[in-house]
């Protein structure tokens, strides 16, 4: 079955010239199935390449090497019509909700433009009806939001309007790049909840890009952990979060501030990035890794399958079969739609 969206063996290098180049992504592959609507988490710190991956998946930038396929078609070589179909099926939600609105227009504009662009409505009245319906679907009252300027709304309201936009277009995939990192805690859950609803009720797949393991754990079925542009661990979210194999994933999890004073951060030794200046041609995590040994500095570990539903790129767990880049989806747990909790209707 051709995947809906596939990133294959992508490498992205920024900067020209001979010296100052930054490798933002290296050997990255994964795909979004066209059969099962899924929520996949892409987790990493700043500088891990996660936003680059988001922009790449949206076709905003192209890969230096490798491909982005939409239903088997190379996005870089698409005709105008195919590209329009790609845009209709793959839609973004960005991090800063204020940044995406044109401050001179009412927020309705952001919703009405795609309707006109993709010719989703026949009349002006229908446009209005669709806009109001979409706003209600994400739990906002049209009377309180429509006809207003972005600066008159809160960040949470603006971000929900972006979710409403996605609801309106009903794409097959939403690439959400840090959609709640600028949102207050009490509204965060609401926005993530509406993404979950889009996934369950409209069968839209979500690629959820975040630095926050806790929210990723809550809404994702599978996650991919990035470190400096490479995949270090991938698999079902239960497996990766409950029993992380890669030292970097372990470090991330032990550093997450849990809202539980009984489980405070340990003072376990963290190798600080700045403390070692040894450069590595092997594993990128070696300079910060408490278990780095000789091969780590010279050889890049390949992604190995450690369990049925997880792979990690570390010499500590390289007994399993090597997973080719394109095979990474094999470790993803299938979606469990049948035992997902049912959500109450929108009010």
């Amino acid at each position: 079955m051709t995947p809906l969206l596939e990133v294959r063996n992508v490498r992205k290098v920024f900067g020209g010239g001979k010296s100052d180049t930054t490798v933002a992504l290296e050997g990255v592959s994964f795909s979004v199935s066209s059969e099962h609507p899924s929520i996949t988490g892409i987790v990493g710190e700043s500088g891990s390449g996660k936003t680059t991956l988001a922009r790449l998946m949206l076709g905003i930038i192209g890969p230096t090497h490798g491909y982005l396929f939409h239903r088997g078609r190379d996005v870089a070589a698409m005709s105008r019509r195919e590209r329009r179909e790609f845009r209709l099926e793959v839609q973004p939600i960005f991090q800063d909700p204020f940044d995406v609105f044109n401050p001179f227009y009412h927020v309705d504009h952001a919703l009405a433009v795609p309707i006109r662009h993709f010719k989703l409505a026949d009349s002006r009245r229908e446009v209005q009806r669709m806009v109001a319906e979409a706003v209600e679907a994400v739990g906002l009252r049209p009377s309180e939001t429509l006809g207003r300027y972005p600066h008159q709304l809160s960040g949470g309201q603006c971000q929900r309007i972006m979710v409403a936009r996605a609801f309106l277009i009903q794409p097959r995939v939403i690439v959400a790049d840090e959609p709640v990192s600028m949102i207050d805690a009490s509204l965060r859950a609401t926005i993530l909840g509406s993404l979950q609803r889009l996934n369950r009720e409209l069968a839209i797949s979500v690629v959820y890009i975040t630095h926050d393991l806790m929210t990723a754990y809550q809404i994702c079925e599978n996650i991919i952990v990035f470190y400096r542009g490479s995949i270090v661990e991938a698999g079902s979210v239960e497996r990766v979060i409950r029993s992380p194999k890669h030292p970097y994933t372990q470090l991330l999890i032990s550093s997450t501030p849990l809202p539980d004073p009984k489980r405070r951060w340990g003072e376990d030794a963290i190798v600080e990035e700045e403390s070692t200046r040894r450069s590595t041609s092997g594993c990128k995590f070696a300079p910060r890794c408490p278990s780095a040994h000789e091969p780590c500095w010279t050889t890049v570990p390949s992604l190995c399958r450690t369990d049925a539903d997880r792979a990690a790129a570390c010499f500590l767990c390289s007994d399993g079969p090597v997973l080719e880049n394109e095979e990474i989806n094999q470790v993803f747990a299938p979606p469990q739609a049948e035992n997902a909790p049912t959500l109450p209707e929108a009010n």
Partner: protein, 348 residues
């Protein structure tokens, strides 16, 4: 933290805030960003002030340093630092108190360093302002090295410029500046909001170590309940310019008393169990257009008539626990949310 009880022996408060009010002048009238906030801290205590954006938490941090700028104005209250009112001090006295007695670790501290000065000079700057008598260069350098070491930085950092340091290192350098004169109170305003979790943990553990070494009190301002749970002893929950609940962090998290605290905790994701994510319905009020009565009443599942007419005062429901809610003292704990309300409050 607890209102003074003359019968109980307790160390004197190092910081005591009484009925602090900070208003912003706007074209639509006063915005009461901080409206009658009181709390106190003993040496060595760590208070976390948690609130959403617009709840007034950063405004408090600035007012505690008396750094409030127009259109903001401190309109009332006292900030007692070892018994002396910071808000009534003369400018000269105030300058002496800042950094030496009460120091600020600002928000986005990485951007508060001077880009064209070496780290050592930025540390010495503060020291010299307070101790203007001549210091031999050697002594100053030793002092800088000691301060850097205390925050876990190598002494070679002294000669570097901010752009040569990583975010976490800059944050520690700022910490070294803030603690250079061994202050009694440290105000940390979202000190790690721009940092990754691993670096955040390192910086917070460093702050904790330095603070314990000094025996200083800390006010940590933030929006992340996880961070509060990791760092604070006491937590004060802010909503629309008021403290709505104060208590020891463990009790507050396991047995919240104020409905807002309860709903806030329920909205937090966890790492050990998947559960339904539940936000708080509605939005915080705008400060120029506050609802009558309790500011939380339009979003509160427990609200009744009195909540819409009468503003609840913060008072002690239990030893060490203060809540501003009309449910008390009738109830001894927060009752269960009516089932219907849970459903309405769930993901819309």
């Amino acid at each position: 933290m607890i209102p003074a009880n003359p019968t109980v022996e307790r160390a004197p408060d190092v910081l005591r805030v009484e009925d602090l009010k900070v208003y912003y002048e706007t074209s639509k009238g006063h915005a009461k960003a901080v409206d009658g906030v009181s709390f106190s801290l003993r040496p060595g205590e760590r208070l976390g002030l948690i609130g959403e954006s617009g709840s007034g938490k950063t405004t408090i941090a600035m007012a505690l340093m008396r750094l409030t700028h127009p259109p903001g104005r401190i309109v009332g209250g006292r900030v007692l630092l070892d018994g002396r009112d910071l808000l009534a001090m003369r400018e000269r006295e105030l300058r002496r108190a800042r950094l030496k007695e009460i120091a600020l670790v600002p928000q986005g501290a990485m951007n508060s360093l001077n880009p064209v000065m070496r780290i050592s000079d930025q540390i010495i700057d503060g020291v010299m302002a307070h101790e203007p008598d001549r210091h031999p260069r050697m002594e100053l350098e030793r002092r800088v090295a000691r301060l850097l070491e205390r925050v876990g930085l190598e002494s070679s950092v002294a000669g570097r410029y901010p752009h040569e340091l990583s975010g976490g290192m800059k944050q520690r350098a700022v910490l070294a500046i803030a603690t250079s004169l061994d202050p009694k109170v440290i105000i940390a305003d979202e000190p790690t909001s721009a940092l990754d979790v691993v670096v955040q943990r390192q910086v917070m553990l460093t702050l904790g170590r330095v603070q314990e070494g000094l025996g200083a009190a800390v006010v940590l301002v933030g929006h992340d309940m996880g961070l509060m749970a990791q760092f604070a002893d006491l937590v004060g929950v802010m909503y629309a310019g008021k403290l709505v609940e104060v208590g020891p962090v463990e009790q507050l998290l396991t047995e919240p008393r104020h409905p807002y605290t309860r709903l806030l905790i329920d909205s937090l994701p966890a790492l050990d169990e998947k559960r339904e994510l539940r936000g708080i319905p509605g939005l915080p009020p705008t400060l120029v257009d506050m609802p009558a009565g309790c500011a939380f009443n339009p979003r509160c599942p427990y609200q009744h008539l009195r909540c819409r007419t009468e503003t609840p005062e913060l008072w002690e429901v239990d030893p060490h626990r203060q809540v501003a809610c009309h449910l008390y003292p009738e109830h001894s704990a927060l009752p269960a949310i009516p089932d219907k309300q849970i459903r309405e409050g769930a993901i819309p």
